[in-house]
Symmetry: C2
Subunit: 149 residues, 2 copies
């Protein structure tokens, strides 16, 4: 039971942008390098975050990404739900199960997933970008900035 790599990376991108220093946008290439993921994968994640309205994407020479809203307003349960999509915890269709019609286990797991999302909504994006995590994010931004200079 793990988040998809897509969701995992989406969360890291949002965290990186939350502790952005200054007003310059951050390029996809910079984030891909910081998290050592493929540029193509990063672009897909950034596109999705843009469609969800959580990041602004800017084109051109100084183009890149920037957080669109207030990270104190963006709740982690909503982020997880949107990035994970509507997939249930068990796949009764692709791997067909004879119990699937009206299965009470499926309903119980759906219920548990809702409780999980609701609990994750007690955290905001800002909450998980504090303390030591903030320190790490800021040092990443400083090293990227030094590389550009």
């Amino acid at each position: 039971m793990q988040l998809t790599r897509f969701t995992d990376l989406g969360l890291r991108v949002l965290m990186y942008l939350t502790r952005q220093v200054g007003s310059d946008s951050v390029t996809n290439a910079e984030i891909a390098e910081q998290f050592q993921v493929s540029h193509n994968h990063l672009i897909k994640v950034a596109h999705k975050l843009g469609k969800l309205g959580w990041v602004e994407t800017q084109r051109g020479r100084h183009g890149g990404l920037r957080l669109a809203g207030d990270p104190r307003q963006l709740r982690l349960g909503d982020v997880l739900r949107a990035l994970e999509g509507a997939a249930p915890l068990v796949d009764c269709i692709q791997q067909p199960c004879v119990l699937r019609h009206g299965c009470l286990l499926k309903l119980a797991l759906d219920d548990g997933l809702e409780v999980f999302f609701a609990h994750m909504n007690t955290y905001t994006l800002d909450d998980v970008c504090k303390g030591r995590t903030a320190t790490t994010l800021l040092s990443l931004h400083r090293s990227a900035s030094a590389g550009r200079a």
Copy 2:
């Protein structure tokens, strides 16, 4: 974010044994056929359920599986936790993340997972083997019994 196939199958085996008719054990082969999974995969799952003390395994000609305890006492959160193992929702090690030391996102996700397990513990194995699910399980047992006759 999905349960592993191992956990998924483990749950189905427990459900199948919960609505077992009569006192005969159920063979691994029968369960593998009912759920259309490989016999080898089923054997691994059955072995784990045996180690956890939830099923009794009997060898010999009439050997097979049988639920070891009362399904009204076996809580789904405990089952999920044991079958999923200690894996967190994000893998910060195998896919190394620069934020992993003291990452607050990881702590928040661990917390959410605990809340999920605790909520799933409000359900027992018996709870999810009722109603239409019980009807389906009983009809599977009847068809297997007719096949043996």
